[in-house]
């Protein structure tokens, strides 16, 4: 079995680490590129959302590379995600690919998955201890990657040479990915710290702080959001985002009660504006800007796919949140057609707007 999954944040680093220790064999899709989107758009039905197009493109490229089994998450609505499996399978079969499909469905009990996983484990002769160690190792890698990203968010706006921080980030991800055991990982971590220290910084800059929120796939994948974090960082803005691989897991396992800026708290904060969470990140997107304002975030950007069923509701409600909490919110409804100049111009104007507001507040 040559398994493949779509690109989603650092999931490939996590799975590669697991795979190297206890298998199975993965053939990841090539890094998401303009070709991925082109393929995905070409074969997608009309009115599907951008994540569908990217993921379909990932699968086509992975199957081209020799993968024979696709694993994809699913749910029971209310948005299109739960239908990806049946529609994508149809498209891929029509294109002549042969493959198996594994749906990771959140309606099945955890025990179902554990039983299945255990069966596979026994078949391969992998011990429970090895499995736990592998999980621990992979999780640590992802946490390191996320820590790196958080540093990048803070350091990139201070860099003197444009692009240096992004280059260091790419190098560090590679170092972490290549580490084959805990010892090497510690060394890699050390090397990453050194690289970061060497970045030429101008600490005198007074940075604006902007929150990036919105639909999950769009927030966590730079290829989907037109690299908005990099753009803002290069404009001298410190950013943070609301979707992380690890935070989604801790939310699902109800382990995030200590985090004041957790998704749970964001949903709570959104109640006055949307009485019931209709699904996905909708309520959270409404609540996050309210929470993060308390941390000194001066603006927020909501990214969503153009025809998103859920996030569009949040979009409408965020106008009111923006007014009542006095926090400017810019919305980017993205599809595959958005022109480069549009993004650059609007981001630039938004940053100017925030800068002017700050000056105004300072001068009283």
């Amino acid at each position: 079995m040559k398994l493949t999954v779509p690109h989603l944040g650092h999931m490939d680093i996590f799975l590669r680490a697991m795979s190297r220790r206890i298998g199975p064999e993965f053939i990841f899709p090539p890094k998401t590129s303009p070709r991925t989107l082109l393929l995905g758009t070409k074969y997608s039905p009309e009115s599907t959302c951008l994540p569908f197009k990217f993921i379909l493109g990932n699968f086509i490229e992975a199957l081209e590379k020799g993968a024979d089994t696709i694993a994809m998450i699913s749910d029971r609505g209310p948005c299109r995600l739960g239908m990806y499996d049946v529609v994508m399978q149809q498209i891929l079969k029509d294109l002549g690919f042969q493959f198996d499909w594994i749906t990771m469905d959140d309606t099945r009990l955890w025990s179902d998955y554990l039983i299945r996983f255990n069966r596979e484990r026994k078949k391969r002769g992998v011990s429970v201890w090895d499995t736990l160690q592998a999980l621990r190792f992979s999780w640590k890698k992802v946490r390191l990657c996320e820590a790196i990203e958080k540093s990048v968010h803070k350091i990139r706006p201070l860099e003197v040479k444009r692009g240096e921080t992004t280059r260091v980030q790419t190098d560090c991800f590679k170092l972490i990915d290549e580490a084959s055991d805990f010892r090497e990982l510690v060394l890699s971590h050390q090397q990453c710290l050194e690289k970061f220290n060497r970045i030429e910084k101008d600490d005198s800059r007074n940075l604006l702080k902007v929150l990036i929120t919105g639909e999950g796939y769009m927030v966590i994948n730079p290829h989907a959001n037109q690299e908005i974090e990099r753009r803002l960082g290069e404009m001298g803005v410190e950013v943070t985002r609301t979707m992380w691989f690890t935070s989604q897991i801790t939310y699902a396992l109800h382990l995030d009660f200590l985090n004041p800026r957790s998704k749970r708290n964001a949903i709570k904060a959104s109640r006055p504006y949307l009485k019931h969470n209709i699904g996905g990140e909708c309520s959270a997107s409404i609540g996050y800007p309210i929470l993060y304002k308390k941390d000194g975030y001066e603006g927020a950007i909501q990214v969503l796919p153009l025809v998103c069923m859920l996030e569009a509701v949040a979009k409408n409600i965020l106008f009111r949140v923006s007014q009542e909490h006095d926090i400017p919110i810019l919305t980017f409804s993205l599809n595959e057609n958005l022109a480069e100049t549009m993004i650059a111009t609007r981001l630039s104007a938004f940053v100017d707007l925030l800068q002017e507001r700050r000056e105004r507040k300072k001068n009283g």
């Binding site: 090539p30 890094k31 590129s33 303009p34 040479k161 444009r162 692009g163 240096e164 992004t166 280059r167 690299e227 990099r230 106008f319 400017p328 409804s333 057609n337 100049t341 549009m342 650059a344 111009t345 609007r346 630039s348 104007a349 100017d352 707007l353 002017e356 507001r357 105004r360």
Partner: protein, 321 residues
């Protein structure tokens, strides 16, 4: 005498303006880009140079518009800013109380919401060109009536014809249909203006809190038919500033003045650049899977600058050489 130069290079038009220390407009130029921004800028500079008073020294340059980066490198800009900021600054400069700026350009349109001299919100046309000047241009060509005359026709109309559709293609077929039905040209043109305004308000200006004083600027602002349609639709008076077609350039000049004042010499390369052979070359970088389209800027056969790369290494290369 100190002067500040602003250049706004858009996809349809290029405009330049020179302001003095006090912010008064000394001269300005409006020309069509015709798909060649470098040539347009050089031509514009030439025209403006010949209109300059004796002894005027350019102490700061600002660029804006979709080709702002290219122009900035070409002329040696002190400030490169997006058009929304530039237009807002110019509007506030002439009308400090302004609260709404409506800008309908050749291919894009904007709305800028200003409160107490501060931009608080803005919108741009998103999916298509409905609600922009290109809508009118096409019809002007087809009807063989110059755009400048549109206003006359529209004003004469007593009851505008209703033209449906957001898309120019649909609108055109509807217009032809009405023409063939025998509707009067005045009424059709008035209907066209109303359709544009409707598209603008439903697309670009959707959800924005439009309050007066309202400024109407951009190339299309000269069109009386549009101005009237806007006033009717909004139920409020609209002002068209004197320099409506070059507000972007004026804004950039003001920004340049703000930037340079007190901070030292300008990076302006001088008017001599109009005589230099400047061109660009496209390079597709294959160093990683991003395959960025990098633009190489060449002055007299010397590569001077690069941009368009995501990782910044091409830009850095230029800095080193």
């Amino acid at each position: 005498m100190k002067g500040y130069l602003g250049i706004d290079v858009g996809s349809v038009s290029t405009n330049l303006a020179i302001l003095d220390q006090e912010g008064e407009v000394i001269c300005f130029q409006y020309l069509l880009t015709h798909g060649k921004p470098i040539q347009a800028v050089q031509k514009g500079l030439q025209e403006v140079c010949s209109a300059l008073p004796e002894g005027l020294e350019i102490r700061g340059v600002g660029t804006t518009g979709s080709a702002r980066q290219l122009t900035g490198v070409l002329v040696g800009a002190d400030v490169v800013k997006n058009e929304i900021t530039a237009h807002a600054i110019a509007a506030i400069h002439f009308f400090p109380d302004v609260r709404t700026v409506i800008e309908i350009g050749g291919q894009d349109s904007k709305i800028i919401i200003i409160r107490d001299g501060l931009v608080v919100d803005f919108g741009m046309n998103t999916v298509c060109a409905a609600g922009t000047g290109s809508f009118l241009d096409q019809q002007s060509l087809r009807l063989n009536i110059p755009i400048e005359k549109f206003g006359e026709f529209a004003v004469r109309s007593e009851s505008a014809v209703r033209i449906a559709g957001r898309c120019t293609v649909f609108a055109e077929s509807d217009m032809v249909h009405k023409q063939q039905m025998g509707c009067h040209l005045d009424d059709i043109i008035a209907g066209l203006c109303e359709a544009l305004v409707r598209n603008y308000l439903n697309n670009v200006a959707k959800g924005k809190d439009i309050q007066k004083p309202i400024l109407f600027q951009g190339g299309v602002a000269a069109n009386l038919g549009i101005k009237q349609a806007l006033e009717r639709e909004l139920g409020r008076e609209i002002h068209v500033p004197k320099y409506y077609s070059v507000m972007g350039a004026i804004g950039s000049a003001i920004l340049a003045r703000e930037k340079v004042d007190g901070s030292g010499p300008s990076q302006f390369k001088g008017f001599g650049i109009v005589n230099l052979n400047c061109r660009t070359r496209n390079v597709i970088c294959k160093d990683c899977e991003n395959t960025c389209e990098v633009v190489e800027f060449i002055i007299e056969d010397n590569p001077v600058s690069y941009w368009g790369d995501r990782c910044g290494k091409w830009e850095a290369q230029a800095r080193r050489s």
